[in-house]
Point group: C2
Chain length 377, copies 2
């Protein structure tokens, strides 16, 4: 059996995702599809609209054969680490092809990757601009190509991860269709995930944009999970922990511990807080991830330890997915498991477990310990 791999968030799973899964299978000619999916927090560091189990259920009912979790130490990271973590798992799982959406699938991403090899962190020291903006300026000056669309940026990151690690699978960009990421309108059967999240918050109709299995779960959402709700926990950590301790937080740099503590003391709600913290130096996504690391009390050292010990947590599978697992599991070198046990929650999967406990702010459901995988017969 040949597999096509995908890196996804499915937040929520919608008609565009369904089309993309079909295209990935058709265009690759694969027998089975494998999705590496963010858990309960997205790449932007935000809580997902429904939990990882509900999103897995919808994905399995709509063309995905195997869903595995992208651990929080890779999922909530800038594009290059997100991509590297995801592709290392797909490589372990022996996929033949990795498919991904791109705004410009015709670009030669590999040559862009090679052109960027000479860039160093020393080139990105303008403290009034984000790292991404400075990187893009360099790339644009050298190649004439500007990476500004989110899926193009990820496409670049996948190509870089595959190139750096010498992965043998094919990379298959697929043209993004329908609505673009930044488009917040709902029109037709394909809308962006962010447009659907907005529609849920606004109470406007989105029922034609997602399959039934997802719509049923979304109908149960009372309040869209957000940092507004998590803010009291973040605020208390920023106020109660000494700056020396906050400084140990992963990615807490350039005095941000003082700035965040000060804004937390003065801000009773998250909007006020995050706009107080924002500068030209950091994107909102970077700061939202930092909010997550702070609330989870993840240190630089702890994160490095987890990145060095990756694993494959199986969230769910179809019959075909199960057959594929059976075929590849002997070649898999990473720990591969379907249930988190008492020891794993404190050691191997500690960060995912703690992120799941934080997600219990939104749902009473235990997210990890002894949770069985979703099986679609």
């Amino acid at each position: 059996m040949q597999a096509v791999g995908m890196v996804v968030e499915f937040n929520p799973f919608h008609n565009g995702h369904k089309y993309y899964v079909q295209q990935a299978k058709e265009q690759s000619g694969a027998d089975v599809s494998v999705a590496v999916m963010s858990g309960n927090f997205t790449q932007r560091g935000e809580p997902t609209i429904v939990d990882k189990w509900q999103r897995t259920q919808a994905a399995l009912a709509n063309g995905v054969d195997l869903v595995v979790e992208l651990p929080v130490f890779s999922a909530c990271q800038p594009a290059h680490r997100f991509a590297a973590g995801a592709l290392s798992i797909l490589n372990e799982l022996g996929v033949s092809t990795v498919a991904f959406g791109a705004e410009h699938p015709d670009w030669d991403f590999l040559s862009l990757v090679k052109a960027s090899e000479s860039f160093s962190d020393g080139d990105m020291k303008n403290y009034t601009a984000t790292y991404a903006t400075q990187f893009n300026s360099l790339l644009s000056a050298q190649t004439g190509v500007s990476l500004t669309d989110p899926n193009d940026i990820l496409s670049f990151a996948y190509n870089k991860a595959a190139y750096d690690n010498g992965y043998q699978f094919d990379l298959m960009p697929i043209q993004r269709v329908g609505s673009d990421y930044h488009d917040e309108r709902i029109s037709g059967e394909v809308a962006s995930a962010s447009a659907i999240r907005k529609a849920i918050t606004d109470g406007t109709d989105y029922s034609h944009t997602a399959p039934a299995e997802m719509l049923e779960r979304l109908a149960e959402v009372q309040t869209v999970p957000s940092w507004q709700t998590l803010y009291p926990l973040l605020r208390n950590q920023l106020i109660q922990a000494p700056v020396e301790q906050l400084r140990q937080t992963y990615q807490m740099a350039e005095g941000l511990e003082y700035r965040m503590k000060d804004c937390a003391q003065r801000s009773l709600d998250f909007d006020h807080f995050i706009h107080g913290v924002k500068t030209k130096r950091y994107t909102f996504a970077h700061l939202l991830r930092l909010c997550l690391y702070t609330t989870l009390q993840i240190t630089e050292e702890e994160l490095a330890g987890h990145v060095a010990q990756p694993y494959i947590h199986i969230l769910g599978f179809t019959k075909k997915g199960q057959e594929y697992l059976h075929q590849v599991k002997k070649q898999v070198e990473m720990p591969l498991f379907t249930k988190v046990d008492q020891d794993m929650k404190d050691e191997l999967c500690a960060l995912d477990y703690r992120a799941g406990k934080l997600y219990q702010t939104f749902t009473a459901v235990e997210q990890d310990l002894k949770h069985a995988p979703i099986i679609l017969r």
Copy 2:
């Protein structure tokens, strides 16, 4: 001018307190009354029903001339530390008498204190009974007197603090009247503070039990502040912080860090959590205080540093209270101030400031920084 001092919580200020203030002034013959009052958290480690400013306002309107704050590092402590912290402030303020309620004002507390001098911590090593129970058994065996009523226990603690420190003021126990502390019924014009808190929660009438100035504030209370509401903050700290860090928390001993972390992981509400943590070894009050220390991330070392640097934060005064302050302030050696400034919030008053930020879970009012004292003309 001669002053009578009182150690109070006024949670809320009720008719029994009003009577007690009158008695303290009459029986002592003092010209002015001074109350050292817990801030926004009580001796039991619980949030107060209304904030310290509202309780100060009611006290000043009902016979108290000067209200100063008992800092959280003394206020949220077992009886002997609570009493020692409070009396050190009253001594600084030069009071002639300290008045306090007692169930048995006729007892010779000083002789009980002297009898207990030979007790050592080594006598209290039965891990299936609380420290207080073991202490009381020893005292009872030696003197025939059993300290079981809460105000008797505090009376003992005031006598001990005065004796240990050689304070020169008179100690004046006043017979407790009306309702006893454990009595949760409302009958007549005097009810216990706990009975009134229960009446507010239950929605039963308590309007005849407190003066108008307090009733107005209580009428604005939507939900009685409690650990139910603070629990998500405590839970997140217990889940996210490593046990090595939790072990540094003030009073975290005998492996409680493991027990509390485990219960937090398994408990979605505070009742479930605290009953899971409870053993015969610790009282609920002890555990509630430990919840507070944990949420405020107070370490043993930090607490000791603050205890070594006491101060007098003036919350409010009448004209007479102001005159008295003017009379004594030259003799006061502790820092004495009416406003917390930017430096004080991070250094001298850091614990009170952080407790005030935690109390903002219940009210948007800034509790310390630049807050002016209440002045009753």
